[in-house]
Symmetry: C2
Subunit: 254 residues, 2 copies
Amino acid sequence: MTGNLLTALRKPSMRHPVSRVFRPDPTTLLENTLISHKRGFGPGKILKLEGDLSSATYCMLDGWLALSKSMEDGQRQIIDFLLPGDIMNPTSANENTSAVQIEVLSYARVSIIPTGTWAGLLDQVPSLETRENHFIASALSRLSERMLRLGKGTAEMRVAYSLLELYLRLDAIGKADNCKLCLPLTQQQLGDFAGLSSVHVCRTMRRLAHRNILTAHGQMEIVIHDLDALAVAASVDLATLKSEIIPAPDINPC
Amino acid sequence: MTGNLLTALRKPSMRHPVSRVFRPDPTTLLENTLISHKRGFGPGKILKLEGDLSSATYCMLDGWLALSKSMEDGQRQIIDFLLPGDIMNPTSANENTSAVQIEVLSYARVSIIPTGTWAGLLDQVPSLETRENHFIASALSRLSERMLRLGKGTAEMRVAYSLLELYLRLDAIGKADNCKLCLPLTQQQLGDFAGLSSVHVCRTMRRLAHRNILTAHGQMEIVIHDLDALAVAASVDLATLKSEIIPAPDINPC
DNA sequence: CGGAACCTTGAGAGTAATCAACCCCCGTGG
DNA sequence: CCACGGGGGTTGATTACTCTCAAGGTTCCG
């Protein structure tokens, strides 16, 4: 009912039942907290504006959110996407405002947990802090990878990398069957993510399609035909990238 | 002897002695750990390459480090600078390799504390975890701010923003007297940070100088004459930026 | 004096943004 | 049923920005 997040949190103890004696499951507390803070939002809904008061941790149960920043002239950069299972606290260093705008891309179910409540949870659910740290490390790695390409990459690299990153993340949560991605994004939004105009995103994707690396239909239904060629275009080593940006619990299925 | 980091950690309890009974100071443990792991490195030294094994927290006592990523063709992006007082763990989501290259820019004294030891410290020094979280929030805010400009900003915005960010950070540790910054950087390195070629950094800074916004001499001794104009050029609200990227302990002296 | 590293400036080339037109799809309402 | 409008996607033409290449200039130091 609360989706991948709980599943993922349960896995470690299920995999190693010998490591713990049976006791009242702390994930029950987590589950109750997640459920009681769960809310649903439709596409286009703005959950937070930049600078809004915010001091909460977002636990993604389902759907997509975009974290973005804008300039006065309306230019926008998507800083990151939040996908099912992700945990993220967008509070900036001042402890009470959000550094980014938070927008719903596809119908999303999110548990928004106030910082105080979250701190209590961390005390009582030991695996949660570890998991949160994995997500922070993962987010930092992703941001670094993207900054490299924003600063020094060509349009092709940026688009190829963006698609690869999304592919790896979706694949990790079982949503990229056969290299097919369904992205709830317009080309404008993909451009805001990759640091390109929507027109140039279109041209670049067409070129990739023309080389039989991928095909796209309709509302961003993308099929990657040649993962290796896409990795070359993105200037990425796929295995390394995966290990660096996908949180550890999902990589080590023991 | 161990510099700003300890000073900063001590401040809270020193300011409010009434809030704690006297007891064996946990900062003694911290101090000992910092001292016993302290090392010094000269400019140019590479502490880690991308992908090197790494599982440690870096506590900056003095000097500058650069975290960077490179592409096969040698293009390089500086992801972040580490300045005195900063705490940072560059480990990627796989828990054992560094997501970035770590390079010394000016003679640096750093305590490099293995993850296990660090976890023990966190248990015993309550203020440390809070402080680490502030640094994480601060780093994420900075990265977001920079990504916005890498993706959508002009060369002028990028240079102006880079200088402003460094000004705010140096000012916060008392190293930006009278808007004068001494950056241990070449224009090439500033370009790697701002996502520009060294040639274009030069042109852009000259234009800013020509407008009497700043002057630069020698090895990047920069004096900002018109902070407001620089903030306009960077498309930044200075007070907001400061609150978002400078860790809270220096703002909320509670 | 010579060399090295860095900064400065100009000229030319290349990449991506912008502007503009058109297409397609789809939902709405006459 | 069809006319209409809106939101996206596609494509071409033009513009603008930034890179690269190249040639000095400066400072520092052996």
